[in-house]
Amino acid sequence: MRRLLAVYAGIAYLFLYAPLAVLAVFSFNASKIAVWQGFTLQWYGSVFHNSALLEGTLNSLVIAGVATIASTIIGTLAGYAIWKRRMPWLTNSLYLSLLSPEIVTGVSLLAFFAWAFRFGHVQLGMHTVILAHISFSLAYVVIVILARLRTFDPALEEAGLDLGATEWEVFRRITVPMLLPGIVAAALLCFTVSFDDYVITSLVAGVNSETLPMMIYAMARKGVSPEVNALSVMITVGLGTLILLAGKLEQRT
């Protein structure tokens, strides 16, 4: 029974990783089709010479960077508030935003921007994408912060208050330093979620705010290309590294 389970688990892990592994192997394939014709790094090179892709990467980095900073600050404060005072309405709305289908979040934000901009001369662009990303990534930050706070001893805060510190001083000099690994983990997670998003982004993006996932999507629609394979491998390795780093930080207590 035990052995049977182990064999099954092996197959399950193969199912999870094989598609990505195959993609990685064929990103080094000299041929454009799915037949192995020798090792090459040319597709990786051509990604770096593709100015459209580089611009998309820059857009994605700016969007994910700004959204991450904002979400991490707002989310850390929210996590602390929920930990202190429960705030069921805030918790529930964050859960609801987490479970809402992406497509609904996307079209409702699109409708919202269309309505909000009808009187001004504002158009869809980087700013709308950033606002949308803050909206959907907030719940992820709060979850990580809350998990971290559950291992935090409230007596430490009480000790600070008893010794005459104000609430703000206690928060800034005791709570935040203790939470820091969790805050960084939350930021890394937030960054990957934001960097990867396609569905919501594509709906609220305007001219000059095309992100990397939007370009990958367009290329994937057209057909498989070795350039996309190479790009995919680089993104997967990059995001995977951030996630492993976040996991390490979350575990350290």
Partner: protein, 274 residues
């Protein structure tokens, strides 16, 4: 304690302006009439909601429910033995669980693309099968309902493994011992003790998988071949190509109406899950 209340403000404002107000606008749009160049205009009407019951769209609704249900059932069947194995792996538990979660956190788009690379007519699977003369024509592996289900199962399997693992891991080992002492074979113990006790995890996992599957957009769009296969694609299509915002808005709210009670059910014990 005043500080905590102040700290709730930025997130409360963000959620209100960027989540609830947009939903209210969708509600308003769903009750308006389609404008000549997209957008919306008066008069207020329930017409979009009546069109939801049009047999043409009803069919898409039921197909979405069917695809989501089959994907959820497959996830449950595939995830249970895996969760059981991880829960009994001693010191390696955390590592094995993280290995399940890792692909989930990396790009969803790229994981879908990886399957397209394997399954398309000129993809690896067909190339290999043609090369060994197992087939003469490429098999139509991509751009059908089966491919969509495969993509969804692949994408959301971690959501099923996580809660199942949480309940299995907490299970009291003395119960299994007791069953064995009373003469139960491992099979009987599994069927009469382990599976019934893992029910809360299974229910949570099914909800966590069914909801994103029902509202899925990217997987049916890429692996279903771009036809309007599921509700998510229908909504997207109404807001972009078809430019019928009231109708798309009505369908969005329909999706939210299904999600809402599930969120409540999960929220009650959400703390153990996330």
């Amino acid at each position: 304690m005043k500080l905590a209340r102040k700290f709730a403000w930025p997130s409360a404002v963000t959620m209100f302006v960027l989540f609830f107000v947009p939903l209210l606008i969708i509600l308003a749009y769903s009750l308006l009439t389609r404008g000549p160049y997209g957008g919306v205009m008066p008069p207020w009407t329930f017409e979009s909601y009546l069109r939801v019951f049009d047999p043409l769209y009803g069919w898409i609704f039921w197909r979405s429910v069917w695809i989501a249900a089959v994907s959820t059932a497959l996830c449950l069947l595939l995830a249970f033995p895996l969760a059981l194995y991880i829960a009994r792996s001693g010191a390696r538990k955390t590592l094995l669980l993280n290995l399940v979660m890792l692909p989930f956190w990396t790009s969803f788009l790229i994981r879908t693309y990886a399957w397209m690379f394997l399954l398309r007519d000129t993809g690896l699977v067909n190339t290999v099968l043609l090369a060994v003369h197992a087939i003469r024509e490429p098999l139509p592996l991509l751009f059908n309902n089966g491919a969509v289900i495969l993509g969804l199962v692949y994408g959301y399997l971690p959501f099923m493994v996580l809660p199942l693992y949480a309940t299995l891991e907490k299970m009291d080992h003395s119960l299994l011992q007791a069953a064995a002492d009373l003469g139960a074979t491992p099979g009987v113990t599994l069927w009469r003790v382990v599976i019934p006790l893992s029910k809360p995890g299974a229910v949570a996992g099914c909800l966590l998988v069914f909801i994103p599957c029902l509202g899925a957009y990217l997987t049916p769009d890429l692996m279903g071949g771009g036809k309007t296969v599921m509700l998510g694609n229908l909504v997207q299509n109404q807001f972009t190509t078809a430019r019928d915002w009231p109708f798309g808005a009505a369908f969005s709210l329909l999706l939210m109406l299904i999600v809402l009670p599930v969120t409540r059910a999960l929220g009650k014990r959400g703390e153990d899950l996330l």
